[in-house]
Amino acid sequence: MGERVLSISGMSKRFGALQATQDVSLDLHAGEIHALIGPNGAGKSTLIAQIAGSLKPDAGEIRLGERDITALGVARRARLGLGRSFQVSCLAEPLSVLRNVMIGAQALQGHSFRFWRPVDSDPRLLAPAHAALERMHLAHRADTPVAALSHGERRQVEVACALVLEPRALLLDEPMAGLGPEGSARLTELLETLKQEVPILLIEHDMDAVFRLADRISVLVAGRVIAHGDGPTIRRDPRVRDAYLGD
């Protein structure tokens, strides 16, 4: 296994009576896809929100590489190399696809208090944004407003937005949702090559994709990791079959 890129230890979060995250510890190593599966309401998205920084955990520690990022905000974590896609796509709909992706390239190149040079003709922003879209097979959609995209395409734009940040780790929250079988297969292929560059913490309901892609799987039920291991181990685990996989 490669070096440890992201590690979460002892993370807990409670909303009133609901224990959304309960002493969760996870890590992500270079070159791998670590899938997080579990039934609806298991706290997967809540966990991602805490790792990305939009939700503050009650307890626990998050490290990106050697660095403790528990106290940092969303923007700071993103600049340090934590890329994220959302379960419900989170884009500026009136803007073009390109504009949505360019903003990430801008953040990577230092502060945004640059008041003079137009972004429309800035190759330092255009080139990385086009490259990220190319990667996601979205080059032909660059000038289309996000509002005109299909659900599946929006998910791909989200991944492109994360890629342009040159992330050290990717958090993808159900990137396959709404893609259809063909798109899903293509994204699976893409993630397989992508993981060589950047490890991925993947939340996904498409079990075919999960078992094909994931090097390791953690199963989250009621805010707690009940099982952890590679694909075959998880498939055999009776608790997992009982709680999630059915049959």
Partner: protein, 345 residues
């Protein structure tokens, strides 16, 4: 959506697939016509010896400039400030107080007064920036209705401070006996003063346009449309908004300094919530988030006030009808109606 060539701001490569953008399209034609009207009408009035109309044009230019400032906050930044009179009035008081001390040779906070407009403008812009920095730093921690109310509350504090401070006229206001001066320009001459106001308006338009095309503008646009996306892309929305708020206040403050010189008078009414409201009405009438919206809105507002106001004191009833029409039927305001809609963002 049907006219992608109308959106040079937002569609970076639109010019390439759609062929070269036409040099003169409807939008540019309307903008050019508005500016030409704004410039040529007072020149003609001056030739005819109608000083009243020259001063009316100066008033339109300054109100438009103040609204350009507000539009940066409301239209481009999504920050609905109901307190921009604070900056308009502060700019006015800077001009008034500085002239007052220059007149009797006394000191203000250890500094001599000045009747040089350049000094006054600099002081107005800096002080408005500082005030907006303090007000914005607190107000921008809230959103929505709370933001509207807290900016109003701060502006009311400034208003009551001015009414209760007797040194500079309190409720009665402060006259500027002799219009402040600018080297090489006869500021007493109505047309010369109009040209200064017009230059200020052009400068504020150019600045806003340039700003919104820059990286800062891209970040501000994203802060308005989807702040979660902005943060996820690695840019904190708060400092971006704060800087936009400060620049917005500076533009409005500079307009206020000139406005006091136009009237030869500054009073707490320049700080009143009614004035904040009028600026908002002008922005909405003209077209929220449209560069030339405030100019169109200011022309319409001041002309209605002058023409209808001369016929009936209930002219605001008709203003209300027009505003209602715009809000219901022309969301991009008068400018959207004249120049066509623009892809938003």
């Amino acid at each position: 959506m049907t006219r992608p060539h109308l959106s040079p701001l937002h569609s970076p490569a639109a010019a390439t697939p759609a062929g070269p953008r036409r040099w003169l399209d409807r939008r540019r034609l309307v903008h050019g016509a508005l500016l030409a009207l704004m410039l040529l009408a007072p020149v003609a009035a001056d030739l005819l010896g109608e000083v009243y109309y020259v001063n009316l044009a100066s008033r339109i230019a300054l109100v438009a400039m103040a609204a350009v400032g507000l539009n940066l906050a409301i239209g481009f930044g999504g920050m609905i400030s109901f307190g921009h009179a604070a900056y308009f009035g502060l700019g006015g008081y800077v001009a008034g107080i500085s002239a007052y001390h220059a007149f009797d040779g006394s000191l203000v906070m250890g500094l001599p007064g000045s009747d040089d407009m350049r000094v006054i403008w600099l002081a107005a812009v800096l002080l408005c920036g500082l005030l907006a920095l303090a007000i914005g730093a607190i107000s921008l921690r809230t959103t929505g209705v709370y933001f509207i109310m807290i900016t109003l509350a701060f502006a009311q504090m400034v208003y009551y401070f001015a009414t209760s401070w007797p040194d500079y006229g309190g409720e009665d206001g402060l006259p500027i006996y002799l219009r402040n001066s600018l080297p090489g320009v006869d500021t007493q001459d109505a047309l010369s003063f109009f040209l200064i106001c017009f230059a200020g308006l052009m400068l504020s338009l150019a600045l806003t346009s340039r700003l919104m095309k820059s990286r800062f503008g891209a970040a501000l646009t994203m802060a308005r449309l989807n702040e979660t996306r902005l943060a996820t892309a690695g840019i904190s929305p708060f400092p971006i908004r704060l800087v936009a708020f400060v620049v917005s206040a500076m533009i409005t403050g500079l307009a206020g300094a000139l406005y006091a010189d136009l009237n030869g008078f500054v009073s707490p009414s320049m700080l009143s919530w009614q004035l904040s409201g009028e600026l908002m009405v002008i922005v909405i009438l003209g077209g929220v988030g449209r560069l030339y919206g405030p100019l169109a809105g200011a022309i319409l507002f001041v002309m209605m006030e002058t023409l209808l106001g001369g016929l009936t004191e209930y002219w605001t009833f008709f203003l209300g009808l027009v505003l209602l029409g715009v809000v219901l039927f022309a969301r991009q305001g008068v400018i959207g109606w004249l120049a066509g809609s623009e892809r938003h963002g």
